[in-house]
C-alpha cells in the first residue's frame, strides 16, 4: 500500500496535462459521439485518434529535446524549427542527388541530417555552455538566420521529394495498418527511454539544472552536460525535420516546422516541468505535446474561425498556466486540507474519537509546514 502511494506521488505531476487532455476529449465527445470512431480504409486505421497521433509526431519528438535543454540549461532553444529545416534540407539534397532511391539512401540521408543536427546543437551548446550566453539569445541567431541557410541549401524554391519510399515514410507502408510517422515517433520514444535507462543522463541533467555548483563539486562538469543536451536537441530537430519533410513531400524552407518552438515550450510547461530547470518529466512533455495537438484540432472541430484560433488558444493557455501556478496550487492545497480536516473532524465526532483525529491532523499540518 505505501509502495502504491509512493508510485502515485511520483505520477502526481502528470495530473494537470492528463486532466486537460481528458477535458478536451470530453468536449469533443459532446460535440459528436463518434469522436473515437476508427475506420479502416485500404487496411489502414483512420479516425480522430490516429490523426492526432499522426499530426503531433514532430512536436512530440521536439518536446523531448526541449525538456532536456530546459532542465539542464534553465532556458529554451527557440531555433528548433529552423534547425529542423536546415537538417531536412540537407537530407533532401542528399536524396535528390543520390540517383536511385533505396531504403539505404533514406537511412544514410537521415544519418547525415542527424549529424547536421548535432553540428547545429554544438553551435548553440557552445554559445550557451562555454560562452555563458543565455539560451534564448544564443538560439535567436539560428532562429533568425536558419531559414536562409536552409533556402541556400535548397538552391531553388521547394525541391520536391517524389520517391515511393519517402511517400511511404510520410504516409503508410504497404501492409502496415498504422501511419508511419506514428510508428517512428513510438520508436523514438522507446530509444529515449532506453537511453535514460542505460545512462545517468537524468541524474546529471537534474543535478546540473538544480544546483550546478554542487554538481561540479561532485565531479559533474555542468558545461559539458548542458552542451550534451543541445546535441540531443539537435538530433531531435533532425528527426522531426525528417518526418515533416517526408509528410509534405517537398522541402518548403519558409514554412517547415514554423513557430513549432512555441508549442514545444508549451508542451514542456504543460507537462509539469519547470521552465527554470531542474527535475524533469519526459512523459509529461509527451502528454503535453499530444494535448496541444488535441487542442488545435478541437478548435478546428468546434468551427472556430481559423483567424481566431490563435486567440482562443492563448486564452486557453492563460487559464491553464494560472491553474498550474504555485499560487493557485498552494491555495488549492489549503482548501483541500481544510476540507479533509472538516470531514475527519465530523467523522471523529460521530465515533467519539475526536481527540485522536485532532492530534493526527495537527501532526500532518506541522509536517507540511516543515
Amino acid at each position: 500500500m505505501p509502495r502504491l502511494k509512493a508510485r502515485f506521488d511520483r505520477l502526481s505531476h502528470l495530473f494537470l496535462p492528463l486532466s486537460v487532455l481528458v477535458i478536451l476529449l470530453l468536449i469533443n465527445l459532446i460535440k459528436g459521439a463518434d469522436y473515437f470512431k476508427i475506420t479502416m480504409v485500404n487496411r489502414v486505421l483512420y479516425g480522430n485518434i490516429p490523426n492526432i497521433l499522426f499530426g503531433a509526431s514532430e512536436l512530440v519528438i521536439l518536446s523531448i529535446g526541449m525538456t532536456l535543454v530546459t532542465a539542464a540549461a534553465r532556458g529554451q532553444d527557440i531555433s528548433i524549427g529552423e534547425s529542423g529545416a536546415i537538417s531536412s534540407a540537407i537530407f533532401v539534397q542528399y536524396v535528390l542527388n543520390a540517383g536511385e532511391v533505396t531504403i539505404w539512401t533514406i537511412l544514410v540521408g537521415l544519418l547525415i541530417s542527424c549529424v547536421a543536427g548535432i553540428v547545429i546543437g554544438a553551435f548553440n551548446g557552445t554559445l550557451v555552455s562555454f560562452f555563458n550566453v543565455q539560451p534564448m539569445v544564443a538560439t535567436l541567431i539560428l532562429f533568425l538566420g536558419g531559414r536562409s541557410i536552409a533556402f541556400i541549401i535548397d538552391g531553388k524554391v521547394s525541391p520536391i521529394l517524389a520517391n515511393p519510399i519517402s511517400n511511404q515514410i510520410g504516409t503508410v507502408i504497404k501492409g502496415v495498418p498504422i501511419q508511419t510517422p506514428i510508428i517512428l515517433t513510438a520508436v523514438f520514444i522507446v530509444i529515449v527511454s532506453v537511453v535514460l535507462k542505460v545512462t545517468n543522463l537524468r541524474l546529471y541533467v537534474e543535478a546540473v539544472g538544480i544546483n550546478p555548483n554542487t554538481a561540479r563539486l561532485n565531479g559533474i562538469n555542468p558545461k559539458r552536460v548542458i552542451f550534451l543536451t543541445f546535441l540531443l536537441m539537435g538530433i531531435c530537430s533532425a528527426v522531426a525535420g525528417f518526418i515533416a519533410v517526408n509528410k509534405v513531400g517537398r522541402h518548403d524552407s519558409v514554412n517547415l516546422l514554423k513557430f513549432i518552438m512555441m508549442d514545444a515550450i508549451l508542451a514542456v510547461a504543460l507537462g509539469g516541468n519547470s521552465l527554470s530547470g531542474g527535475k524533469f518529466s519526459i512523459t509529461g512533455s509527451i502528454i503535453g505535446a499530444y494535448t496541444i495537438e488535441v487542442l488545435n484540432r478541437t478548435l478546428l472541430r468546434l468551427e472556430v474561425n481559423p483567424e481566431a484560433i490563435k486567440a482562443f488558444k492563448a486564452v486557453f493557455i492563460i487559464i491553464l498556466m494560472v491553474l498550474a501556478s504555485p499560487v493557485v496550487r498552494v491555495y488549492a492545497k489549503k482548501v483541500m486540507d481544510k476540507a479533509k480536516a472538516f470531514v475527519a473532524g465530523k467523522a471523529a465526532r460521530q465515533t467519539g474519537r475526536l481527540k485522536k483525529a485532532v492530534v493526527s491532523i495537527t501532526d500532518s499540518s506541522v509536517k507540511k509546514e516543515e
Binding site: 545512462t199 545517468n200 544546483n211 565531479g219 516543515e370
Partner: protein, 500 residues
C-alpha cells in the same frame, strides 16, 4: 563620559524558527566612535545590525536613537532616520554611473534633474576625498572605490549611524587604508560607525571600542586598547584563558608511515590563498584553525580543486598526481564536504537516494548507472548507519532537517570509500546530539585507517577530534601544533599573534 550616546539597544531578543539568534543583547554606540562588533559565525552580529536597520523585526527589546525610542519597519525608514548600512556584497548597479548609484531610488519625483544630481555627487565625492567622477560608470572604479561610493550613498542623508558589514573582505592592504581614511573622516564629523570584520588587526588599527557577541549573547563591551588580542580571541571562541581543565587527552597520531597519504607543496588557488605546504598521514585527523576568513576553507578547497588551482605540486602515497577538477580528486580517493551545505552540498530537489549515491555514481561514470535496487540498498545501508531520519528514499532532501541533510552528504562521501575525507564545518547549524555523533564517527573512521581533515569554528570541538592543528591567519599558515603543544591556549595565542 567622553562623548554623548547616540544609540542604545536594550534587551534585544530575536528567534528564527528553531534558532535563538539573539538573547537579551545590549549595545551602545557613541557619537564619533568606531565600534567593532566581533564574534564568530552565528554569534548574532548580522542579526543585530539587521534589527537596527529595519531588515528584521525584533521579538523584544528597545532601540533608542538620540534619546527617543524608535521602531523601524524597513531599511528605507531606518535610512531616513539616519541609519545607513553598507552590506558585505556591494549592492550597487555596476552599469550605472557613480552619481546615479548614489542617488537612484532616493527621490520621490518621477523626474530626475541630472545636472543637479551630478553636481551634488561631485560635491560629496570631493568632500569625502573619493577619487571618482560622478559621470563615470561604476564598473570602471576599483572595488575599494565602489565600496566608498556605497558608503557615500549610505551616509548621503544626514547620517548619524553607519553600519559597515565586512567592508574590507575583498580589499587589498592599500585599499583598506583608503577606506580607513574615509572612516576616520566620518568619525571626525561625528558619525557613529559600527564595524563588522573578521580581521583582528584591522579592529585594533581603527576601532575605539569592541563589543563581543557569542551564540546570540552579549559577552561584553571593551575599550579596544585595554583588551589584548588574545583575550579578544578567547572571548569570541568562548574559552577562558585560565580554563586549563579543558585540556583533554585526544587521539595521538597513530601513524609511523614515512609516506604521507596526501602531500601538497606550494599549493595555491584562484581565490587568493598564499601558497602553502600540507601533508596528512594514514589514520590521522588534522584540523585547520583560524577565524572565519583566515583562509582555512580556501586551503582545503584547493586540495580538492574546488576552486581553480593555480600552482603547486601534489603527491598521493608518494606518487605525483595532477588534480585539476573535483572528479580527479574523487578518483584519487579524496572526498570533500563543503562548508556551505545549501549552495554546495545538497541538491535540494533531488531525493535522499539520489543525493546519497551522487558522488559514487559520478565516479562510476555516465554509462554505468546503478540499478534502482542497488541504489536503494546503498542508500538504506547509510540511512541506517548514520541514523538519517527521512520519511522515504524518495523524499526530496530539502524537506529534511539541517542535521539530517548533513548526514546525507556525509553518507554520500562515505559511500565512495575515500582514503582522505575533508569535512569543512560538518557540524554547523545542527543540534548538539548530531554534533557528538559526527565527532564520534570521525574518530571511528580514523581508527579504521581513513585520513580526515576536520574544520570547525568551535575550537573545543576540533581539539576533541584532531591530533594536529594547522593554524591560519590572514590567508596564510602561521604555524602547526600537535602533541602536548596542542592546547586551546596555544591555538588562540597563535591565531592572535600570528605564530610569533
Amino acid at each position: 563620559m567622553p562623548s554623548e550616546i547616540i544609540l542604545k539597544m536594550e534587551g534585544i531578543c530575536k528567534s528564527f524558527p528553531g534558532v535563538r539568534a539573539l538573547h537579551n543583547v545590549d549595545f551602545v554606540l557613541r557619537k564619533g566612535e568606531i565600534h567593532a562588533l566581533m564574534g564568530e559565525n552565528g554569534a548574532g552580529k548580522s542579526t543585530l545590525t539587521k534589527i537596527l536597520n529595519g531588515v528584521y523585526e525584533k521579538d523584544a527589546g528597545l532601540i533608542i536613537l538620540e534619546g527617543k525610542p524608535v521602531h523601524f519597519k524597513s531599511p528605507q525608514e531606518a535610512q531616513n532616520m539616519g541609519v545607513g548600512t553598507v552590506f558585505q556584497e556591494i549592492a550597487l548597479c555596476p552599469n550605472l554611473t557613480v552619481a546615479e548609484n548614489m542617488f537612484i531610488g532616493r527621490s520621490r519625483n518621477a523626474f530626475v534633474n541630472w545636472r543637479q544630481m551630478n553636481e551634488k555627487a561631485a560635491e560629496m565625492l570631493g568632500s569625502l576625498g573619493i577619487p571618482a567622477s560622478p559621470t563615470q560608470e561604476l564598473a570602471s572604479c576599483s572595488i575599494a572605490v565602489q565600496q566608498m561610493i556605497a558608503i557615500a550613498r549610505a551616509i548621503d542623508m544626514d547620517c548619524k549611524i553607519l553600519i559597515l558589514d565586512e567592508p574590507t573582505s575583498s580589499l587589498d592592504e592599500d585599499e583598506v587604508q583608503k577606506l580607513f581614511a574615509l572612516m576616520r573622516e566620518l568619525k571626525a564629523r561625528g558619525v557613529g560607525i559600527i564595524f563588522i570584520t573578521h580581521f583582528i588587526d584591522q579592529v585594533y588599527e581603527i576601532s575605539d571600542r569592541i563589543t563581543v557577541l557569542r551564540n546570540g549573547e552579549l559577552i561584553g563591551e571593551y575599550e579596544t586598547p585595554e583588551l589584548p588580542q588574545i583575550e579578544l580571541v578567547s572571548k569570541m571562541m568562548g574559552k577562558a584563558l585560565s580554563d586549563v581543565s579543558a585540556m583533554k587527552k585526544h587521539e595521538p597520531p597513530k601513524s609511523d608511515d614515512r609516506v604521507p597519504v596526501f602531500e601538497a607543496k606550494g599549493l595555491s588557488s584562484a581565490v587568493g590563498v598564499r601558497p602553502f605546504d600540507f601533508s596528512i598521514h594514514k589514520g590521522e585527523v588534522n584540523g585547520f584553525a583560524g577565524l572565519l576568513g583566515s583562509g582555512r576553507s580556501e586551503s582545503v578547497r584547493a586540495i580538492f580543486a574546488a576552486d581553480k588551482v593555480t600552482g603547486g605540486e601534489v603527491k598521493i602515497n608518494g606518487k605525483r598526481v595532477k588534480i585539476k577538477a573535483p572528479l580527479n580528486a574523487m578518483k584519487l580517493g579524496i572526498g570533500y564536504l563543503p562548508e556551505d551545505r545549501k549552495s554546495e552540498g545538497v541538491i535540494d530537489e533531488l531525493s535522499v537516494r539520489d543525493n546519497i549515491i551522487l558522488a559514487l555514481q559520478v565516479m562510476k561514470g555516465f554509462f554505468k548507472p546503478l540499478s534502482r535496487k542497488q541504489a536503494e540498498e546503498f542508500a538504506n545501508q547509510y540511512i541506517k548507519l548514520l541514523e538519517i531520519k527521512t520519511p522515504s528514499l524518495d523524499t526530496p532532501v530539502k524537506s529534511l532537517s539541517g542535521g539530517n541533510q548533513q548526514k546525507v552528504i556525509l553518507a554520500r562521501w562515505l559511500l565512495t570509500n575515500p582514503m582522505y575525507l575533508i569535512l569543512d564545518e560538518p557540524t554547523r547549524g545542527i543540534d548538539v546530539g548530531t554534533k557528538v555523533e559526527i565527532q564520534k564517527l570521525v574518530l571511528k573512521l580514523a581508527q579504521d585507517g581513513m585520513s580526515l581533515t576536520f574544520i570547525s569554528s568551535e575550537i573545543d570541538e576540533m581539539l576533541r577530534v584532531c591530533s594536529r592543528m594547522i593554524v591560519m591567519k590572514d590567508r596564510e599558515i602561521v604555524g602547526e601544533l600537535s602533541g602536548a603543544d596542542l592546547t586551546e591556549q596555544n591555538v588562540m595565542q597563535m591565531i592572535a599573534q600570528g605564530g610569533k
